[in-house]
Point group: C2
Chain length 341, copies 2
């Protein structure tokens, strides 16, 4: 808003210096109005709801929200990038188990590692959340934060998604990239609030989404600073620090941001508390759920999925009139590589 | 600084519309060069070191630091505002003990509360860190985060500093306000990294320093989200979560920012680990220590002070050539209210 005011002020001054200014000013206005900030979103209720909200709260009036209060939070898995056939971080953890297997000969005969080494997803999944946490702890600790960042980057540079045979970072949603940019252009400060590992996300979110590392909230393990004889490092310990899911999301938002968001975007029941927290803002707020309805271009899942289950959230969205994206019908394309060149 | 740049831009455009622009443009440039971004700092080595660093790393060249990497961290107590005769948050906690005393009749006969109720600082201090933490836990938990924010604001609106008889928020350092603005104008993202309570600082740092709430790192207690029958709250629990001091500072920086700073400013041995962490950056980095040398206008203390002890840090600063502010000789004024009107 400030930038717009400044821009208009400068524009006004330039125009005031010239003759026949009216025509030029009209041209500039028309160009601005014709530029669609969300070109990959089909016209319709969903897109209108978003644009109407942003217009209402950024213009002076009774809906106006001061810039400092414009906090927008986005879940990541299944909301900014895909999460099927399993969370991408699980593929990373499985590849880490394989990479570290030589140092751990006992894994060949110990579950849940054995099932990873044998690519036996069914058995792995039977160990449930406990088994997955064990794998994450065994593979995500033990390095310095710098080393871990490099490990993530190296993995992303070579690993391919099993269905699309492309790097995982290419499976971000084009319409959501446009939404993030649109919010930023309207002076919203955009944060990722994800159940995924904070240090798994930070190495790539700046390139992928244009969201700075310090605007990422996620699950974390404990760390310890070590002076290390004058070469300070921060070591990653195999101990859980914080789970940024469900109730953890508003708690994490409070801990990191210290301010209630006005805009929240998620896709699962794990985001419900974050959406409720945002909905309780005294400023006009916006709650957005992404419903995975596109079995052909992406995946279709909701109430019965073990990954990204959207059940209570869908009911509450309907009750409260929150906006629900119907992926199949609201999005022209899913991924950036599908854009016509 | 940004406003000055914008003002100059507008000025330039107006001028560009007229004849004889060359002369006018030269005038504008001269004004810009003559504008001192740090007017409350005396000319000399300290000011030169800061300005030379900022100039070197923001211009294209072998010292250049990309904008995303320009992270500047500032300790708060004794660095951005005063911390004598005791940390200001301790005065807050003591006032909370008095305000809550009616609900806790046992405090009249139980230490360390008894010494607080009797204004017996000597006895209170004899209970050391353990006693202080007990008082903070007893007075900082039990509310929702919204309630606590209001309690802090109400306290700041009425409480007066014992020596200066002014609100505590007036005891911020004018030269440091200028430094923060100078860094921001040069695209540094500025963070507070304080041993003080994160939720004690957030209610006032935006007004006092122009640093957003989400760019504050501090010590914290645990919190818990509660749906509360449709009126969600986050409750503050009487349980320590994180101590953002000494080794905790680089750990907190990693947790919240996820990136090593290039500029660190502190005043005590509790900041040493943060300065060392910054010093290990592969980009050119700057370490700044504020030495309290002004017994007349502020306070003079260093190696033997129980508050804000600067001992090992002072030795290491001398060894490593870090910049040390001599408050008495480097600063023209201490507080904004001392500025000539």
């Amino acid at each position: 808003m400030k930038k717009i005011v400044q821009y208009l002020l400068i524009l006004f001054i330039v125009i005031a210096c010239k003759e026949n200014t009216a025509t030029k000013q009209d041209e500039a206005t028309t160009v601005a109005e014709n530029t669609d900030p969300l070109p990959s979103w089909k016209d319709g209720d969903t897109k209108n709801a978003i644009v109407n909200y942003v217009n209402a709260v950024t213009k002076q009036g009774d809906q106006f929200i001061p810039v400092m209060e414009r906090i927008a939070v986005f879940d990541n898995d299944g909301n900014l990038w895909s999460e099927q056939p399993a969370y991408f971080q699980l593929f990373f953890a499985m590849d880490r188990v394989k990479a570290l297997a030589q140092e751990h000969p006992e894994w060949k005969t110990t579950q849940p590692y054995k099932s990873v080494l044998e690519d036996d997803m069914a058995t792995l999944m039977s160990y449930g959340e406990h088994g997955l946490i064990e794998i994450v702890m065994a593979t995500h600790g033990g390095n310095t934060v710098n080393e871990f960042e490099q490990i993530v980057k190296d993995w992303l540079a070579t690993a391919k998604h099993p269905r699309f045979d492309r790097p995982y970072t290419e499976l971000v949603y084009q319409p959501m990239l446009e939404l993030i940019n649109y919010m930023k252009a309207n002076d919203f400060k955009t944060f990722i609030v994800s159940g995924g590992g904070i240090e798994f996300m930070r190495p790539w979110v700046e390139d992928a989404y244009g969201i700075p590392k310090d605007q990422v909230i996620g699950s974390s393990i404990k760390t310890k600073y070590d002076y290390n004889d004058g070469n300070p490092v921060i070591r990653r310990l195999p101990e859980l620090n914080f789970i940024d899911d469900k109730e953890g999301k508003p708690e994490g938002i409070n801990q990191y941001i210290g301010r209630k968001p006005v805009f929240a975007s998620g896709n699962s029941d794990g985001d419900l508390q974050m959406l409720r927290w945002t909905d309780s803002n005294t400023y006009p707020s916006f709650q957005l759920y992404l419903h995975h309805t596109d079995a052909e271009r992406e995946w279709a899942y909701d109430r019965k999925s073990s990954i990204g289950r959207l059940d209570k959230g869908l009911d509450e969205a309907n009750e409260k009139g929150w906006t629900v994206i119907d992926m199949k019908n609201d999005w022209k394309v899913i991924y950036p590589f599908q854009l016509e060149k």
